[in-house]
């Protein structure tokens, strides 16, 4: 009973870091609202370090992922004849009192909630965020992993390996 309360408090603390963290990542990358890719970056910033270890197992880091996000935008613009170098993306000064997520960010949080419902004995970890992100087949999250040549199966294996260490 006491352990469950402790886990729940820990979960609330993690969510309280994750949501503003994703918002800050979005603003730094020039966007008003946090999408799923910004939640991935925020998970990599969590102190417990599980997401960071998953990335390290795949020989990548947060900076590589951030670069891959930008690169997939550049490639998409290039496909319509816009030279990415002519588009300067500035950080956004957020005007919101409370963080508001992009639909992809909201969907990630919804999936995270569903995942944690079936995984009650472990604290909420950055690796859980990656587990949800690894299931996303389209959009910026998936394109950034593809840009880094990360196979979804390798990502899922590294996540499972990390999560097992927390049992």
């Amino acid at each position: 009973m006491f352990n469950r309360i402790k886990l729940r408090l820990n979960e609330m603390k993690t969510i309280n870091q994750l949501i503003p963290g994703a918002d800050a990542q979005a603003n730094a990358l020039g966007e008003e609202t946090a999408g799923a890719e910004h939640y991935v970056l925020a998970a990599l910033e969590l102190e417990e370090g599980s997401a960071k270890r998953v990335f390290a197992a795949l020989n990548i880091n947060a900076e590589n992922y951030r670069d891959a996000i930008n690169k997939q935008y550049d490639q998409a613009l290039d496909a319509v004849g816009i030279d990415a170098e002519t588009v300067s993306i500035e950080p956004v000064t957020s005007k919101k009192l409370l963080p508001v997520s992009h639909p992809s960010g909201r969907q990630l949080m919804k999936s995270l909630h569903a995942l944690k419902k079936n995984d009650k004995d472990r604290p909420l970890l950055g690796a859980h965020v990656l587990a949800v992100a690894a299931e996303i087949k389209h959009g910026v999250v998936a394109r950034a992993f593809k840009e880094l040549n990360i196979e979804p199966s390798d990502l899922k294996n590294a996540i499972q390996h990390e999560l097992k260490a927390h049992q």
Partner: protein, 72 residues
């Protein structure tokens, strides 16, 4: 001069939708910068709204608060 290219065909939705997302992000950035510039050049919110093809209230709601924060 930017090289002219054909838009990705909708028959390749992965590529076409990626282009839509990137263009939307670029358009948002350009809008923010242009509105900031317009305000600094003395444009009224009515003029900005007219140029953007939205209502004055919509333009103000979207940009006024972030402009105030930038000024601080």
């Amino acid at each position: 001069m930017t090289k002219p290219k054909l838009l990705p065909t909708p028959n390749d939705p992965e590529k076409a939708l990626a282009a839509v997302v990137a263009l939307r992000r670029t358009a948002d950035q350009l809008e923010r910068k242009a509105v900031r510039q317009a305000v600094s050049q003395g444009w009224s919110w009515s003029e900005i709204a007219e140029a953007l093809g939205v209502t004055k209230q919509a333009a103000h709601k979207k940009h006024a608060a972030s402009l105030k924060k930038t000024k601080k």
